[in-house]
Amino acid sequence: MALILNEEQTLLKDSAKDLMTAAAPVTRFRALRDAKDELGYSKDLWAQMVDMGWAGICIPEEFGGLDFGFHGLGLVLEETGRTLAATPLVASILVSASAITLGGNDAQKKVLLPKLAEGSLLMALALDESSHFSPHKIATQAQASGTGFKISGNKVFVLDGHVAETLIVATRTSGKTGDRAGITLFLVDRAAAGVTVTRTKMVDSRNAARISFADVQVEASAMLGELGQGADILDPVLDRAALGLAAEMLGASLEVFERTLAYLKERTQFETKIGSFQALQHRAVDMYCNLELAKSILMEALSAVDEGRTADLPVLASSAKAQLCETLHQISSEGVQMHGGIGMTDEHEIGFFLKRARVAEKTFGDAGYHYDRLANLNGF
């Protein structure tokens, strides 16, 4: 239960902060948005992050990674959250590299992980089928066809769906929608016949897509994990995904909190700094309390991954994501309110955090989803 960073982790966090501050300030993200950039992320920034080794940060050394540990990835994500850097780190590394590492066979690892680690391959997980996160609610069919399978169905909210070359698609090979058993994962080429990708514009201006599959033929070798056992990979991957998002959300929360606190100290009304008003002071302290709680639960959950405490992970991941959803929701809303009129303008950056907050809350399960899951995990 390491609740403080070691020296290497501190160095990593500092260098992530340096790069994000220098190469990916919020102004860059605004520029991407305003230019309606086709990729939705900066190739230059991604190349620099790959150079730092972050794409391979939790990929095993034998497959070209750094094997630095999951906590390290969390620290980098936290810093991307502070500057709202839109990068392939979540879809390709946090989610897809985790899925391949945890569920791939040797051949799949050998082919895919080195490419992910060197940043030359982007991947995405095609999971959600409705407006509410519910990972076992899979209706997309994969039926045996020739030597392989034929996939048909519709996916929504696929992060980086329009730039990823390879998709991990969650399908149903048996059972009914909602069953944990009977889910099978496949690796699908985005360029394959029958795959149609439509980019969706979300409120946070980040990449997401709807993808439809119409009789898409895949070989049996494209199966990730065992037939019908996809949830055994999916569940631990989604715990890591929720945690990684929570780390990004901590960065965003800290940034909004610090900016808001600075504004309270600088803005003058009634011939005094507005930060001297008790009504605002107490709300600032409420935010601070939630932040401290969030830091602790996240830290514990991130260390649990690296310490191999797999049995604790579902509860810790859901607890951390729920706490960060609550914290960022509160802080992003208060951030706008305490900035007053200027906070409502597109010109000011605080609103960008509010928009990112709501999307991050919904990504990999919102607070309500995770409270429900925790109640189930704890037997009530």
């Binding site: 403080i4 005094t272 709680l293 969030a294 429900d372």
Partner: protein, 395 residues
């Protein structure tokens, strides 16, 4: 075997031999040991346990041995704590002397004062109460008016304290008195005296919970030896504030207290029932409990993190400033959830129709309302955090 392993082996063996079997069962409120001249022991084992632990100095494991403490290093203390947890030992002594007064005596008292008072605290011989709040000095504590006037080698004390916890059962008081009426904070002294002194009278206050843990305490020409003033004349506020830090840590501790035997959600199922899937049959309550459990877990981890940061010499321990307020809020939240899930069984007062445990929850819920008032209100705590930790301006 390293020294620390040796210490662990010895400690384990000593505890095996000396901790009575009934002291390894969950604590019950009636058997809690507060010590003092008038101590009563409903369970005779608790007297044995206090005497043995007191003689070892292990009621105050890290206080120096010359003052009766255990003289343990931080590492040894951690071993002792883990060995006590291993056998689920009850605390041998609950005491304001241990939690609040002792730490400030170690820091501010003279050598003779330490030798006089600390060993009796360790052994639970003297039970202390806290003379802080007054009718006109609550959140604005430094506005206190109880006066101490020097007369030769004694002080003559006149005035009134309020919310004095267990004053009717305590032997001595640590008391804030005004020794200079011309200034506010710099006119306060910190003094110790015997509650048996002529002129001291105590009147218990009946609370909303029906219990009377607090008293009004009156001083009418009470003559106390001036040698029992701790620290310099008129410098008592510094000591008073430091003591409050110890008190707040202690109240914040309530937040880490798990509901004893049965987890909250299992209690809830008893009263509310479950649906066909085994889920609590009240979706809103189910979510509230899960939410409480997340915050509870995060709070416990924050406690642990602050400890690790201090040990590693990292940060300024700023997070510790929120522990009292958050702990109080959590305990109140827990109490509200408990009586809420119990329905009308949670709002009984006494008599038929309610079992002891139910009445205890209801009374505990009323008691919990004080958590955000005692030891400095949550509002005052937030003012302090806003100013000292967040650096927000004052008007």
């Amino acid at each position: 075997m390293s020294d620390i392993e040796q210490f662990r082996a010895e400690t384990r063996a000593w505890l095996e031999d000396n901790c009575p079997a009934s002291m390894r069962t969950p604590s019950v409120a009636e058997e809690m040991v507060w010590g003092g001249r008038r101590a009563t022991f409903t369970n005779p084992d608790s007297k044995v346990w206090l005497e043995r632990m007191g003689a070892k100095g292990w009621t105050a494991p890290m206080w120096p041995a010359q003052y009766g403490g255990g003289g343990l290093s931080m590492a040894e203390n951690a071993v002792l704590e883990s060995e006590l947890r291993r056998i689920k030992a009850r605390p041998a002594l609950a005491s304001f002397g241990l939690w609040m007064l002792g730490p400030v005596l170690l820091e501010f008292a003279s050598e003779s004062q330490k030798l006089e008072h600390l060993p009796k605290i360790v052994r639970g011989e003297i039970r202390w109460c806290q003379g802080y709040s007054e009718p006109g000095a609550g959140s604005d504590l430094a506005g206190l008016q109880t006066k101490a006037v020097r007369d030769g080698d004694v002080y003559v004390i006149n005035g009134q304290k309020v919310w004095t916890s267990y004053a009717d059962q305590c032997d001595w008081i640590f008391c804030l008195v005004r020794t200079d009426t011309t200034v506010k904070h710099n006119g306060i002294s910190f003094i110790l005296f015997d509650m048996q002194s002529p002129g001291v009278s105590v009147k218990p206050i009946k609370l909303i919970s029906g219990e009377s843990p607090f008293c009004e305490t009156f001083f009418d020409d009470v003559r106390v030896p001036a040698r029992d003033q701790v620290g310099e004349l008129n410098q008592g506020w510094t000591i008073a504030k430091r003591l409050l830090q110890h008190e707040r840590t202690n109240i914040g501790d309530f937040g880490t207290a798990q509901s004893p035997q049965t987890p909250m959600h299992e209690q809830a199922k008893k009263y509310i029932g479950e649906d066909a899937l085994g889920r609590l049959d009240d979706a809103a309550m189910r979510r509230e409990i899960a939410k409480y459990q997340v915050r509870q877990k995060a709070y416990g981890l924050t406690y642990a993190r602050v400890g690790q940061e201090l040990k590693a010499g990292l940060g300024d321990g700023a997070a510790s400033s929120i522990l009292k307020a958050v702990g109080a809020e959590l305990n109140k939240h827990r109490s509200e959830l408990m009586i809420d899930m119990m329905g009308t069984q949670g709002i009984g007062w006494e008599g038929d129709g309610f079992n002891d445990w139910e009445i205890m929850q209801t009374r505990g819920w009323l008691r919990s309302k004080a958590n955000s008032i005692e030891g400095g209100t949550t509002e005052i705590n937030k003012n302090v955090v806003a100013k000292n930790v967040l650096g927000l301006p004052t008007k």
